[in-house]
């Protein structure tokens, strides 16, 4: 099994490399390819089992959008062909049509999905988060955090939402839909160690997306205790969620 981590030297904010660390701990036999910004992504030309990219600075968003732009048709084909992607935090914005700041165009996204991102760096939107994921086997609660300068707007989220928000911001303030789930492409605005906070989600990815049978994520009992406590805590009546 081969897992490609895109640009970890710059896509590493908010503890998100813990997602990769958790994959490593849970899949000790997997090969991890860390592609630097100056390198050529492996998934463009070879089969990989999962591509991961996490939160980056706003300047890095521009650089990465420009870097991947020549390959957008290849990337679209990879998604259409069912390659597994996990995209967290503002890395999601790279896959939209464009990124705006204070109404001004900052850069084009890859345009693979029908949405645009609008930010205002004078504002910071922070929340704790609970969303419901319909895995096909039942509803799974996904918990986490968001720390963002803005939101995303477009049809992609109505058509292909990953989660239905029950606490916190959706993909924007107006809708409860959150993230994108198309074929095997999963993207979410949730920031931080998403997989660490959600061992059931990792277990599902391992089983359903990576074909790993009979193996639990690492530190499963301790991870589940923390997850179950957080789910109970966040769903207490009257729990504040916006910081």
């Amino acid at each position: 099994m081969r897992i490609e981590v895109l640009f970890p030297e710059i896509c590493n904010l908010y503890g998100e490399l813990a997602n990769v660390r958790y994959l490593r701990e849970s899949l000790p036999d997997a090969e991890f390819v860390e592609t630097p910004f100056t390198g050529q992504p492996v998934f463009l030309t070879e089969d990989v089992d999962l591509v991961y990219m996490g939160t980056m600075t706003e300047q890095a968003q521009v650089l990465i959008s420009e870097k991947l732009m020549p390959y957008r048709d290849v990337i679209r084909n990879r998604i259409d062909d069912g390659m597994n992607f996990l995209i967290t935090g503002n890395a999601l914005e790279v896959f939209g049509k464009r990124i705006l700041e204070d109404g001004k165009h900052i850069c084009d996204g890859l345009g693979i999905f029908d949405f645009e991102s609008r930010r205002d760096k004078r504002k910071r939107y922070n929340c704790i988060y609970v969303g419901e994921f319909d895995s096909g086997e039942g509803i799974m609660k996904v918990v986490g955090y968001k720390s963002l300068f803005g939101f995303a707007y477009g049809n992609a989220f109505k058509e292909h939402a990953f989660l239905n928000t029950t606490l916190g911001y959706g993909i924007n303030k107006e809708i409860s839909e959150e993230g994108i789930y198309v074929n095997n492409f999963i993207a979410t605005y949730i920031t931080g160690p998403l997989l660490v906070l959600n061992p059931p989600l990792l277990e599902w990815i391992m089983r359903e997306k990576l074909g790993v049978e009979g193996r639990k994520p690492a530190f499963y009992d301790d991870a589940m205790k923390a997850y179950e406590y957080r789910v109970e805590e966040y769903t207490r009546p009257g729990k504040g969620w916006e910081y």
């Binding site: 904010l13 650089l63 922070n126 160690p193």
Partner: protein, 459 residues
Amino acid sequence: MIRFYIALWASKLSVIALKLTGHNATDFPGTVALKLCPNFLKYVSKPSRIIGITGTNGKTTVTNMITDALAATDLKVLSNKEGSNIKTGIATIFMKGVNVFNRSTYDLAVLEIDERSAPVLFPYFKPEILVINNLTRDSTMRNAHPEFIAGILTEELPKTTKLVINGDDLIACSVAPENERVYFGIDSLDTDTDKCINLINDMRVCPKCHSKLEFDKVRYHHIGKVHCPSCGFKSPECKYSGSNADFDRMMIDITENGKTYSVKLINDSVFNIYNSVCTTALLREMGYSAEDVVEMMSVLSIVKSRLDEKKAGSYTLIRQLAKDKNALATSRVLDYISSRPGRKEIIMMMNCLHDTVQWSENTCWLYDCDFEFLKNEDFVRIIVTGERCLDYVLRLRFAGVDMSRIKAVFNYDDIAGALKLEEGTDVYLLNGTDSIKAADKVEAEILERMRKKSEGGME
């Protein structure tokens, strides 16, 4: 202006009221002033010279050092060294610096300035010199990432402000490239390595060509000397460069334009060595001669340890602040403690209690923080506490800490009883800024248990 004078007088009255009721008057008077006159900072008179100190870590220390060093001069110095560094705190200190007729009574202001507050401060005053000690990750929610903070400073800084920047911090160096600047740094330390072992390293990529940077010397995280093997970009030459740190004499050599002089260190931690070099550079840029600076630095008191030690019977309890949500600052604390000799029990109370009341702590920072330092088997027990203790347990498992050494305690009342208290083992109590009072109570309970155990009595 009537509105301003009402705000000024009300603010001054609030200081008297706060003092009579035994409260600190560092923030509230400014809040009153700004409430009554939102443009208070525009109208309040200021000293003719303003020096600012900003950055993520070390602002308070440098502000204290500069203020103490200037005490021996005949300058009348206004400083917020004991106060708040955000807009309300700055309004408070400027209010204190004028009489009831709004006439400034000080020659110079030395201001610790919150790096995030630049947009609401710099429209109202222009520092002659601004020190940027470092820019590193801090609260995810408030500060996002250091590049964002560097961007804020670049946008908001007056063009006339001269910068005194830590040249060993390339993120700080990126601020306001058009402003006049000098760099300070440390040439070498015995503890230098060429590989960053920390989880946070926000300067891995060349800012010019985006190739991987190579570190020649690493102090901690991204602080050190680097070069780009692809395009030749490298750390800037420092006008003020520290070397030959001597911890027996507590002195460090400063080389400036080929001449070397020695100044006093206040502490042997890398953080504080930088603070001493920074203070030296600032005093020199303020116009004091090297001889004067050596003399001014000599009055600064040495803090032998950053740790607050208390003895109880045969036991030692060591208290340390580890900033909530600040992965880098907490990493520095864990690194420092792990480097100390002897067996240890450590209690972690860096719980964001204020967040817990309103919503819940954002724990992303746990995975940026180097809890790996606790793998050291000198830590015989690690007690994680409060509502996030299960998250800490999981984080320590990631760090490779054996479960038998971890104890999760939800209730603070149970912390003292969870200690092993073995002979020859020191106890470290880490608290965040939110949990100071709670840690005071836990500290008292631990000391009581230590005393009883030393006396051989019933616990």
